[in-house]
């Protein structure tokens, strides 16, 4: 085998390999799965429909799954308000708007993993008179459900 012929065959074989590898790789990767990245607490898996920071009158959906074998209580609250308006109204799951107190939107419990209601959806909208207001919403686990006394 001459050197020229040897290198020609080698280059052809390697080029074909690279070409085929490239083609099959691009064919195999034409789909990207765009899952929502969950956020985990000790016992909960939390999914936010968009960024935790929402604008006035914008809607945010939060899915909460219990990953533990016990009932977990949680609170959805406003962690940060960027704005000047004092009276903020919240709408939870398309119910009628309520005045926000203590920055708490909802306190609820969620059943153990593998049972009914081990996943809860909350759709939240915040409204004030100032359209430039923005809000940062968070979910946290709490020890026990505290009900407001009247």
């Amino acid at each position: 085998m001459t050197h020229k012929r040897y290198y020609l065959i080698l280059i052809t074989v390697l080029s074909l390999s690279v070409l085929l590898l490239g083609m099959s790789y691009s064919k195999n990767n034409n789909i990207e799965i765009a899952n929502i990245d969950p956020i985990y607490t000790d016992n909960l898996k939390i999914l936010y429909s968009n960024d935790k920071e929402i604008k006035n009158d914008e809607e945010l959906t939060i899915g909460i799954a219990n990953k533990s074998d016990k009932v977990i209580n949680y609170k959805i609250f406003i962690k940060e308000i960027k704005g000047t308006t004092k009276d903020i109204y919240y709408t939870l799951n398309n119910e009628s708007p309520k005045l926000l107190e203590n920055n708490t939107i909802v306190i609820d419990s969620i059943n153990p993993y593998g049972t009914k209601n081990d996943y809860k959806l909350n759709t939240i909208k915040l409204s004030s008179t100032n359209n430039t207001d923005t809000y940062k919403i968070e979910v946290m686990e709490i020890e026990e459900v505290q009900y407001d006394s009247e």
């Binding site: 085998m1 074989v13 390999s17 790789y25 789909i31 799965i33 049972t115």
Partner: protein, 168 residues
Amino acid sequence: MTANNILKKQIIIEIIALLVLIGVIFYAIFAIQKSNTNKIHSTNGFVTVLDDKDFKGLDIYSDAEALEQEGITYTVTNNNKDKKTFKIVIKPSIDNKDVLKHIKISVNDLYVSNLTDLEKENDNYIISTQELKSGYTKNNLIKLWYDLDSPKTITQNKISFKYDIVVQ
């Protein structure tokens, strides 16, 4: 180095290169077969790709358990020249409400709903309404399961689903 040794060395390199080529050919065949399981469909300037190879079929789960399972990927690409609104719709192979009311569906691991609670249009259930800019692609992860109250007589039903989009 003698001419004989050089020849031996060249032959070994040739064999290795040929083995690489054979390996790549097998990989290419595997990749093509895998991609051929996707169902590609064109409608109104949209291209949809349905990939359900990882979906094992309907089973009984709680909602949190179901969201841990593999789902169906439904990819939508807008090849129109302008932004369009479209609905992703699903049509079950049976129309028995007693069965369908036990089926739950999630979209992108967030929105969970009973199938029969969804809005219906021409025998299709609307699972999502979305907007897509020209040239953009959106991936949707769809999961289906039977709720925990489903009796065995219900879950024995073999149901398949047709996915489609309705461009507005």
